[in-house]
């Protein structure tokens, strides 16, 4: 109460010092405004003395305080409960002492008592056998000072008041039929007994004095239908109106000629508005304080406007998921408001406007859209009443509300394009930076440097909302680490996909892969070349083959052993990379062992490879020669050897187990290399024979390989191979999968801004869905051929000179395709037309007399 008193004094000061005129008016009317007087003789009104004014103001405010005290006392306990109505509700309103609620709709108009155990129907106001449309309510309001007085807005345009004190069954008191269209909203003045305001579809607002038969003033918004009207709580004379065209207007009740202020609040209709009920103590220093206005619109937004400044300022904005039908500030919580939606979404949300991305609380009881919400008591934030189209009336307890925040994931994690990792979490979790760092290191062995990019903290979280501050850290990947994507970019740039014979493409790509230290891919390319190249000389095969196979493996195993030994002795600098590739090797070997015996395809391959391709043969020799002196440089040696000994394995890497990211580097692993290797090699040499096989034979294997790559995340390889192989493999893989690969690859390329490559891929693809990607946004900007200005407009007419651009001299149509013109007279047109024309005539088709030539 103490707070209230100070505020009263404050308001008093405000009003007197800032606008004596208002205060005077108020006094003269003795809490009832003399409407007509206001307009006609403003001067007269202003004569009253200043002291008198003070006294009156105090009186008025004390009265109000008394009233509020009363309402506070009668707070009742309750629980979440509901009752069925007979018909959908359009609006609800609660009486001052929060003991009764009125529900109004097209076919319902009833008063329910709020008891502890449930709703009790008290009164049915809808009487008569065939009730008139006056009973069909779009809105209802219970007077906040007189508990017997109600007003409804009827869909037929009538404004009706009801007096519950009437003794007969029909409680209708007055009927105003001045509006021509549906009345959307009625609003009693918060402190004035006899003042009622209505807003209608016809674009007018009317103010009624209930002691008179007609409206006392009419306000024309001049901007379409009125959707909501609300008297300001703080400012006696002001009301806000919201309109269908997105405007909100502020009016002074004494000046029906024009609005005081107008601003565009939303795109599309503003369905509702609500003045902030806050205590004025918060803004003691502000003169003429009007506070905040919340508006909700069809554009799915709730906006909070600060009306106290000269320019209306948007201070908060909440984006909801559906159009906002009603908005109501939550009592005693400065930043909270409740909303419900017009369509689709049936929930009621309570938002903290400072945290607009997640509702503070949600009530999910209704099965159809909620049409009316009202806080049960002006000073009790824990009870919310709601009516709905599903014909129920609910009392929601705040403690039963669901809190989406509790279910929301408080951490966020995202990979950047270049392998960076961003991680956001509650501050409390981030207090131990070491552990976080560890986590990062563990998962991403590339070795991360942790530094927080930014750090924000909301000061002073006084209300009960869950903590909203979180910290964001970004972990940068080191250049060249496994997480980085350099290989992808380099590969994309250097691969050749078309323009050369198949074998050369493969060869080139194999080299590229090799250079980038990607032995497996390199081998794959080589294998592909071998498998699908036309056999040159089948008869020569066997000898070579035997020779080779007898020879090579030995070299291999030898060098392998050497290598691993050498590796172990190396210092740790390059450890990771080396071990990585080593492991690949191990895996491949592993898998050789597994598959060799059962399928036997690998052997064919090997044979084939050798005999089919002399080129390869010679190359291998070269490599070997080069390899020998380089024993001590394992990085280079590895891929080379790999290429040779991995021939059998390459086509079926499907069997390969996903590599573990952990590289232990222990010696046990490298020592176990030898036995495996030898088994492998033995089996190879035993089973070797070489019948000739058609390329088609390999298709299933290649298909599996492509799937394998795609699944491993290397969609680049899959697509590149797909394009290079072209018809050789295309039919084996179903369209959708191909399309999927293409899409992923193109998406990746575009993320890395490799536009040229992505375009090439699109061009080379054979899927219809992909090829048409190139057809989108193919706008060509052109200048008008007459006035030389850019033709910004759609179509072929220049906006400035109103002429068709580039008209064919023969047919006078706009040329949209090939345009050919004479260099002598610069007239031209459709290629065919000009050709045809010049067959018959020597002169320019434009009639300029020039003798054009067509060669």
């Amino acid at each position: 109460m103490r707070r209230e008193v100070t505020s009263a004094a404050n308001v008093n000061n405000d009003s007197t010092s800032a606008s004596p005129e208002r205060a005077h008016l108020f006094i003269k009317g003795q809490c009832v405004i003399p409407y007509e007087d206001v307009n006609r003789d403003r001067v007269n009104v202003c004569v009253t003395s200043r002291t008198d004014c003070h006294a009156r103001c105090n009186f008025y405010l004390e009265l109000r305080l008394e009233m509020e005290k009363m309402t506070r006392v009668s707070t009742v306990n309750g629980r979440t409960m509901f009752c069925h109505l007979d018909a959908p509700a359009n609006a609800i309103s609660v009486c001052r002492d929060a003991t009764q609620v009125v529900v109004a709709g097209r076919n319902i108009f009833k008063i329910y008592g709020l008891e502890e155990e449930g709703f009790v129907e008290r009164l049915n106001l809808r009487v008569g056998r065939k009730p008139s449309l006056n009973f069909s309510c779009a809105d209802v309001m219970w007077h906040q000072m007189d508990e017997n007085l109600l007003a409804t807005a009827a869909t037929n345009g009538a404004v009706v008041t009801w007096n519950l004190a009437r003794s007969c069954r029909n409680k209708q008191e007055q009927l105003f039929t001045e509006h021509k269209r549906t009345v959307n909203k009625v609003c009693f003045h918060p402190t004035e007994v006899n003042m009622l305001l209505s807003g209608s579809q016809d674009g007018f607002m009317k103010c009624f004095d209930l002691r008179k038969k007609e409206s006392v003033s009419t306000f024309s918004g001049q901007s379409e239908s009125v959707r909501d009207v609300q008297f300001s709580i703080k400012d006696y004379f002001t009301f806000a109106a919201s309109f269908e065209n997105g405007n909100v207007q502020l009016w002074d009740i004494r000046r029906p000629d024009r609005y005081e202020r107008m601003f565009t609040a939303h795109t599309g209709p503003v369905f509702c508005c609500d003045w902030h009920p806050e205590d004025s103590t918060f803004h003691m220093h502000k003169v003429l304080h009007r506070g905040w206005l919340a508006t909700g619109g069809r554009d799915k937004m709730v906006k909070v406007w600060d009306m106290s400044t000269n320019r209306v300022k948007e201070i908060y904005c909440v984006q909801t998921i559906a159009s906002v039908a009603r908005v109501k500030w939550r009592p005693e919580r400065r930043y909270h408001l409740a909303t419900c939606s017009m369509m689709v979404d049936h929930n009621i949300y309570v938002w903290d406007v400072r945290r607009p991305f997640i509702p503070f609380a949600t009530f999910e009881e209704h099965k159809d859209v909620t049409t009316g919400i009202v806080w049960r008591n002006q000073h009790d934030p824990y009870y919310l009443l709601s009516g709905s189209k599903d014909s129920t009336l609910y009392q929601h307890m705040f403690k039963d509300a669901s809190r989406p925040v509790d279910r929301a994931n408080p951490e966020g994690l995202c990979f950047g394009l270049f392998g960076d990792l961003a991680f956001a979490a509650k501050e409390s979790l981030m207090t131990a930076p070491q552990s976080v760092g560890d986590v990062g290191r563990k998962t991403y062995p590339g070795g991360d440097r942790r530094y927080p990019i930014f750090f924000f903290k909301k000061p002073d979280v006084t209300e009960q909302f869950a903590q909203v501050s979180s910290a964001l850290s970004v972990f940068e990947s080191e250049a060249g680490s496994s997480v980085g994507m350099d290989w992808f970019i380099n590969t994309a740039k250097s691969y050749l996909l078309s323009g050369k014979p198949f074998a050369e493409l493969c060869e080139h790509n194999a080299q590229v892969a090799k250079k980038l230290n990607r032995p497996q891919e390199s081998t794959t390319w080589t294998m592909l070349r071998i498998m699908f190249s036309e056999p040159a000389n089948p008869s020569l095969s066997t000898n070579h083959n035997l020779n080779k196979s007898g020879n090579l493996p030995l070299v291999n195993s030898f060098s392998m052993k050497e290598m691993s030994a050498a590796l172990n002795e190396r210092n740790k600098e390059n450890r990771q990379d080396n071990l990585h590739s080593l492991e690949t090797n191990l895996n491949n070997n592993d898998e050789n062992e597994e598959t060799e015996g059962s399928e036997g395809q690998a052997e064919y391959l090997f044979g084939d490879a050798e005999l089919d391709d002399d080129d390869l043969y010679s190359m291998e020799h070269d490599n070997q020669a080069a390899e020998e002196p380089e024993y001590l440089l394992p990085q280079e040696a590895f891929p080379l050897r790999h290429e040779i000994m991995d021939h059998p394995s390459a086509p079926e890497p499907v069997q390969e187990k996903p590599e573990s990211p952990h590289v232990s580097g222990s010696e046990t692993e490298s020592t176990c290399l030898t036995p495996m290797e030898s088994i492998n090699l033995i089996s190879v040499s035993q089973l070797l024979f070489s019948p000739h096989l058609p390329p088609k034979f390999f298709c299933p294997i290649v298909k599996e390989m492509l799937c394998y790559y795609a699944e491993q995340g290397d969609v680049q390889m899959a697509v590149s191979v797909l394009i290079v192989l072209g018809d050789r493999i295309r039919k084996e893989i179903d369209e959708l999968t191909q399309e999927h690969w293409y899409m992923s690859y193109i998406d990746l390329l575009q993320r890395f801004e490799l536009w040229n490559v992505s375009n090439e891929v699109i061009k080379l693809s054979t899927c219809g869905a992909i090829m048409c990607l190139n057809q989108a946004s193919t706008t060509l900007h052109i200048n008008c051929s007459n006035c030389k200005r850019p033709m910004s407009n759609k179509g072929w007419i220049c906006d400035r000179c109103h002429q068709c651009a580039s008209v064919c001299a023969v047919c006078h149509h706009v040329v949209k395709g090939l345009f050919v013109w004479c260099q002598g007279c610069s007239h031209g047109g459709h290629l065919e037309h000009v050709m045809e024309w010049l067959k018959q005539s020597k002169h320019c088709p434009a009639g300029c007399g020039h003798l054009c030539e067509y060669t």
Binding site: Q201, S323, M343, I782, G817, E832
Partner: protein, 444 residues
């Protein structure tokens, strides 16, 4: 400047100048002519619908934009589906003009020519749409949740909600456009010729087929099957009058049929090019249950059809939000259309405009709580009412003769205005019913 798009073949012709002249004669603002010129330049010709609407340029702009968006821009349905749905919708009202137009477009966007042989040849998914098409076209108040449910029921041929919404918007758009075409007489005076196979990329809107200068052939014959009688027309005097007219015209049609058949075979022999001859397809092949037509709403009211109350489900509050949610941006485009037509300057009183609008909605069972329907009778002359009713409910030139709008010295642009009102009111009515059914489906 050489811009190469595709290999195109252009016909010689003076059509360009022809329409240009027309545009110039039309003494409207620059804006209108510019719009037409643009449309014309874009696709080489101007359809008669756009020409008619050109007397209200601000409306024409939003109309073309909407139409372009529905038919060519982002949306869940493939392009050829869209045109086929448009064909289905137009065929409901036997609108040859639109059927041919969309048939041509259908082929141009690589639709399967086989489908044009009739509804039976179309995939079952499209055939499922036939029912809601029929209902929306003639008795939209019958649209129910069950229809939506049936279409969305998961299965091989099911529709997604987004697809369905686009289809519904398309259907409603085309149905109402049929009304406009009928009202403006575009259907009979220029039957598009079937030669439309140059590769102009899809232009600003539907088009091409309304090829003015070759359309000198007599309009091809009416439906080959016996034109159905409407049993259900009731006794209200207007309808009786309409029925008389319909009967009369049907007799005339029958008389003329012989000549027509003759001329048709002739023209077939003339045109007889490629498979495109089927453009002049008989709309009835896309129609099932041709008996189904408009019935007086008032009659049925006592049974079980509730009056649709705008105050409970309005375009601004409910329809817009739903349609925009399921088919993004279409809400704004349609909203703009409705607003534009509402804000067109009407030389007579605004009350008359409202009376026309509400009368059309009333015909379709949509009522406004805040309207006194006595106004309709007071403000609308009988001739005008008849005209509106014919255009809104029986826009079928093969059955209904176009009764001239015998309304006190009406200007051409005013007549177009009335036609626009009919079209938009009808569009909104169908959309409201369809969207309400979808809402009910979503709630259940």
């Amino acid at each position: 400047m050489i811009i190469c798009t595709k290999n195109m073949d252009y016909r010689f012709g003076t059509q360009c100048q022809f329409v240009q002249n027309q545009v110039m004669v039309n003494s409207e603002k620059d804006r209108a002519s510019l719009l037409c010129m643009k449309a014309l330049a874009n696709r080489g010709r101007l359809d008669s619908v756009s020409q008619q609407m050109a007397s209200h340029p601000q409306y024409l702009e939003s109309f073309l934009r909407t139409q372009h968006y529905i038919l060519y821009m982002d949306g869940p349905l493939p392009l050829h589906y869209r045109h086929y749905i448009a064909i289905m919708a137009a065929a409901r009202h036997h609108c040859r003009y639109l059927v041919s137009l969309h048939s041509a477009q259908f082929l141009r966007v690589d639709g399967d020519p086989l489908w044009l042989q009739g509804l039976e040849a179309a995939p079952p998914r499209l055939r499922h749409l036939d029912h809601i098409n029929k209902v929306l076209a003639h008795q939209p108040w019958l649209t129910a949740r069950s229809h939506i449910q049936a279409l969305l029921k998961t299965g091989e041929q099911c529709w997604s909600l987004a697809e369905l919404v686009q289809a519904v918007v398309l259907l409603a758009h085309c149905h109402s456009l049929c009304s406009f075409v009928f009202g403006s007489g575009s259907d009979s005076d220029s039957i598009p010729t079937p030669r439309v196979h140059h590769g102009t990329p899809p232009g600003y809107c539907l088009c091409d087929a309304a090829n003015g200068n070759t359309a000198l052939l007599p309009p091809p014959a009416g439906p080959t099957e016996k034109a159905p009688r409407r049993r259900s027309l009731d006794s209200s005097c207007e309808v009786a009058y309409l029925r008389e007219q319909i009967q009369k015209s049907q007799e005339e049609i029958k008389e003329r049929k012989a000549d027509r058949l003759h001329s048709q075979t002739l023209s077939h022999a003339d045109v007889e090019e490629e498979d495109e001859a089927m453009f002049s397809a008989d709309p009835s092949r896309f129609v099932t249950d041709p008996e189904f037509g408009y019935q007086e709403f008032a009659r049925r009211e006592e049974d079980h059809f509730q009056v649709f109350r705008v105050q409970d489900y309005s375009w601004e509050d409910h329809g817009f939000s739903l349609v925009n949610r399921l088919y993004s941006d279409i809400g704004h485009l349609l909203d703009e259309r409705f607003r534009n037509v509402a804000s067109l300057p009407f030389p007579h009183s605004p009350d008359l405009k409202r009376a026309i609008w509400n009368y059309i909605h009333c015909i379709y069972g949509i009522r406004y709580d805040d309207y006194d329907y006595g106004e309709v009778n007071r403000l609308l002359e009988r001739g005008l009412k008849l005209y509106i009713k014919a255009v809104a409910c029986y826009p079928d030139s093969s059955k209904t003769p176009l009764c001239p709008l015998s309304w006190a010295h009406i200007k051409a642009s005013e007549k177009v205005h009335v036609n626009l009102l009919v079209m938009e009111a009808r569009l909104q009515a169908e959309l409201l019913y369809a969207l309400r059914a979808i809402t009910q489906y979503m709630i259940a």
